[in-house]
């Protein structure tokens, strides 16, 4: 009897611990960030055939098409079910396989209800390819299209902001260890941090508020490479968290940091990000929000993104362009 009581106690304690850990985890994940890769998704445009071929060849484990990533897939509706929750998409050219698409919400289901089999459509969603190479797409958005040829160099934020990466200038940091692409109009507001004596870290500042004169308040995005070998003594190079805290203190000119990391994310494109958020007050009293994103690289260096904006006055945020730039960075 006593033994059973003890077992119950242990089980209760374990259950309570699990609940607390889960709640803490949820709270940890619930920190809202401006540069949220889960809510501001970048879709690569492809046609259904590219997806079907890639599923056969690599099962979405390598190459351009990867399971877990987001795509805007163009094809023809082959079948759809009566409740408008599911449809199959076939390629413009004949293939044996189809892509199974399911609506993730009512909005998508409503959009499907207005479509018919045989319609040419573009389906935006997250790709999955299972062990049997069955391809499925969870529909975020679906729209009619009249195109039949899709160039996979085009990326978009659903219906907003479509860019062809061939038109996006490429930049390199750390002798090519990091490369990324920027929207064409960022070139005019780009500043080299070291050359223009804006700081000691290799990288660029993009003065986004100047594009189209959106705001007189600074909205800037920085892409930098922190060379651990140059800035950190050999004995200290192992602890990345302490190094990142040192970077934050140096840039924000403070000894007191808030919770770091505010959020840890492994993105759908495989990058691992650590976030930090704080308020930056200038001596003049102007208040800015600073959001850092750290990405630790295999060579020991750290890719540092910094987004500075004014919460009250950043009316037309350039966030979509930033998300695209981060999505296309290669390390």
């Amino acid at each position: 009897m006593r033994g059973r009581k003890k077992t119950y106690k242990i089980l209760s304690f374990a259950l309570l611990t699990a609940v607390v850990v889960t709640l803490c985890g949820a709270a940890f994940l619930s920190v809202k960030v401006a540069l949220d890769t889960e809510t501001h998704v970048v879709y690569q445009h492809v046609d259904a055939r590219t997806i079907i071929d890639a599923a056969e060849k690599t099962a979405g484990k390598s190459g351009v098409i990867r399971k877990g990533r987001y795509y805007a897939v163009s094809g023809i509706i082959d079948t759809k079910n009566k409740n408008n929750k599911k449809l199959t998409l076939k390629a413009f050219s004949t293939t044996a396989k189809v892509i199974s698409c399911s609506a993730s919400d009512e909005e998508a289901a409503n959009a499907i209800s207005a479509l018919n089999t045989g319609d040419k459509v573009t389906v935006y969603g997250k790709l999955d390819i299972d062990l049997l190479k069955k391809i499925s797409l969870e529909i975020d958005h679906i729209e009619k299209t009249d195109i039949e040829a899709v160039n996979d160099s085009i990326y978009s934020m659903r219906t907003k902001l479509a860019m062809d990466i061939r038109d996006m200038p490429e930049r390199e940091l750390a002798d090519g260890k990091v490369s990324y692409r920027i929207p064409k109009d960022w070139e005019a507001v780009e500043h080299d941090i070291v050359d223009e004596e804006l700081g000691a870290m290799e990288g660029y500042q993009y003065k986004l508020n100047e594009i189209g004169r959106k705001s007189e308040y600074a909205e800037s995005f920085f892409v930098c490479y922190f060379d651990t070998d140059s800035f950190v003594a050999e004995n200290d190079r192992g602890n990345k968290k302490l190094i990142e805290e040192a970077i934050l203190k140096d840039i924000l000119k403070t000894d007191e940091l808030k919770k770091f990391p505010a959020r840890n994310v492994t993105t759908y494109y495989g990058a691992k990000y650590k976030y930090y958020q704080d308020t930056y007050r200038k001596l003049s009293g102007d208040k800015y929000q600073a959001e850092f994103v750290f990405q630790e690289l295999d060579d020991g260096g750290i890719l540092v993104y910094l987004y500075i904006y004014n919460t009250q006055h950043t009316k037309e945020s350039a966030r979509d362009e930033i998300m695209l730039t981060m999505r296309l960075a290669e390390t």
Binding site: V189, G199, D236
Partner: protein, 146 residues
């Protein structure tokens, strides 16, 4: 769990006299006209100032804009909120007080209509008109007759 007790820090080896990123400098330069890259805009704003409303008929706008110590007040009206150089104010009375206290001869003001409430916008214009009459403030903006 143990990390909370780890008070160790890493000191960066930075031989330059600059921080990794000088945010003050970067933000200052990100404001319009703060560096040479916005020369065209600055010139345009000077031209606007010279053509702007001055109730006492002075033409000090263009002249004043060339002097570095003179400043421009940026007044943005968003809805019913009045914002002066990035700081939200309670009402147009506070705007009047702040401008009266801070205005120096040659300073200019620019009003921006950011989906402004019409009454609030009129109140702001009234304040500026008064200061133009009494102090010679030169102001300009994207206002329209309402």
């Amino acid at each position: 769990m143990l990390s909370g007790f780890d008070k160790r820090t890493v000191e960066l080896q930075n031989n330059s006299n600059m921080p990794l990123i000088d945010l003050d400098k970067a933000i200052d330069r990100a404001k319009w006209g703060a560096d040479g890259s916005n020369e065209a805009d600055s010139v345009a704003s000077l031209n606007e100032a010279s053509e702007s409303i001055s109730a006492n008929g002075t033409s000090g706008g263009a002249e004043s804009g060339l002097m570095k110590e003179e400043k421009e007040f940026i007044i943005k009206v968003r809805g019913k909120t009045i914002c002066l150089n990035g700081t939200d104010l309670r009402d147009s009375e506070e705007l009047r007080k702040r401008l009266t206290a801070e205005y120096k001869k040659g300073d200019t003001a620019q009003v921006k209509d950011d989906y402004a409430d019409a009454d609030t916008y009129r109140e702001v214009l009234e304040v500026l008109k008064k200061l133009a009459e009494t102090e010679g403030l030169v102001y300009s903006g994207d206002y329209v007759e309402r």
